[in-house]
Subunit: 203 residues, 2 copies
């Protein structure tokens, strides 16, 4: 990526609010739950169900969803490896801004490349990055085909489709793995809620 | 801007948490305070002082600062009119994601073009967009020259510098105008705090 020459004139401005101040205000520490997995693995379903559960529990949070972000911030990006990488970079930067504001952030992106997820971990900071691998097998995701995308990918209508015509590199060291074909949505959400509660030192 | 072909395959995913749910959780409505004005007009100083004041008052908020965002999300952008426009577009999209999460957002960007600020208003939604024009005169900003940038711009070292070699289009319909040469930082912050309290229906 090109870093512009004027960069040296750009001076970091410090906030007068620390992470400790935020935690005192909100009662919990911020965190990014980074969901990764095939299309149809259950990322968006779980992300939005968990958001609902967290808010009911008094915890403010935000879902950054792949499809939604591609309608807004990343509408200029496609699905080539370079564009996928830039997609993940921008989302990681936004997640970092949000955890600085004290939010629990749930990201829902296929994020198929290990290198890109490592970049996200680095941008966000390892101590705030919690990788959740939705390990639901490809054939089950294809059977579900909730959006009809696998059918289109098989017919060649959709190029660069993860699992069919584009690779998926499974995590080797995710903080959590969930196979959504083995548990109900409610069970997954309760498990994730407890994980957030344990990890974020809620009062 | 190019919108990629795969766009039609991208389906908006609805959150199960409404703005009303967020307001019930937090006790206030979200809002973007969009600061605009010359370099040296006091944008970052006021933004961070207001952030500190709001958090002390129990209101969660986030500052999106021009220099900071150019270290992260927008590090690939320079200062040409096209890059400035993309800078503002991305910041407006991030601000929208943040107000959807219930935050008060304070943006601190020169944002010199009317068209770009109108774009930001449109992305964020007019009812959540509160434009704050820091109307401090150019000669006063140049006298302050806190970062030494005007000197560099006058010597030709910095191209495309707003007010010297690049235009600034003053707002015609800002929700608020503040000349920071006429009031203390504390007075400005108190005024802005009251504005947020009145506008966001705080309990």
């Amino acid at each position: 990526m090109q870093i512009k020459k004027e960069k040296k004139e750009i001076v970091w401005q410090n906030s007068q609010v620390t992470g400790v101040d935020r935690q005192a205000l909100l009662g919990y520490q911020s965190l990014v739950l980074w969901f990764t997995g095939f299309s149809g693995a259950g990322k968006s379903t779980l992300a939005f169900a968990l958001e609902r559960r967290l808010v009911t529990h008094g915890i403010n949070c935000s879902v950054l969803d792949g499809d939604n972000v591609r309608h807004g911030l990343n509408r200029d990006l496609g699905f080539s490896p370079l564009d996928r990488s830039e997609n993940i970079r921008r989302v990681a930067e936004v997640a970092r801004l949000m955890i600085d504001a004290g939010l629990i952030v749930i990201t829902s992106f296929i994020s198929p490349y290990r290198e890109d997820r490592a970049m996200a971990r680095s941008i966000i900071g390892a101590e705030k990055f919690f990788e959740v691998y939705l390990s639901t097998a490809l054939d089950i995701c294809e059977q579900r085909d909730t959006k009809g995308l696998y059918r289109k990918a098989r017919s060649g209508e959709l190029p660069c489709f993860t699992g069919i015509s584009s690779p998926y590199e499974a995590p080797e060291d995710a903080e959590l793995s969930i196979d959504t074909s083995m548990r109900s949505v409610d069970a997954c959400v309760e498990y994730l809620l407890q994980t957030v509660i344990n990890h974020c030192s809620l009062k």
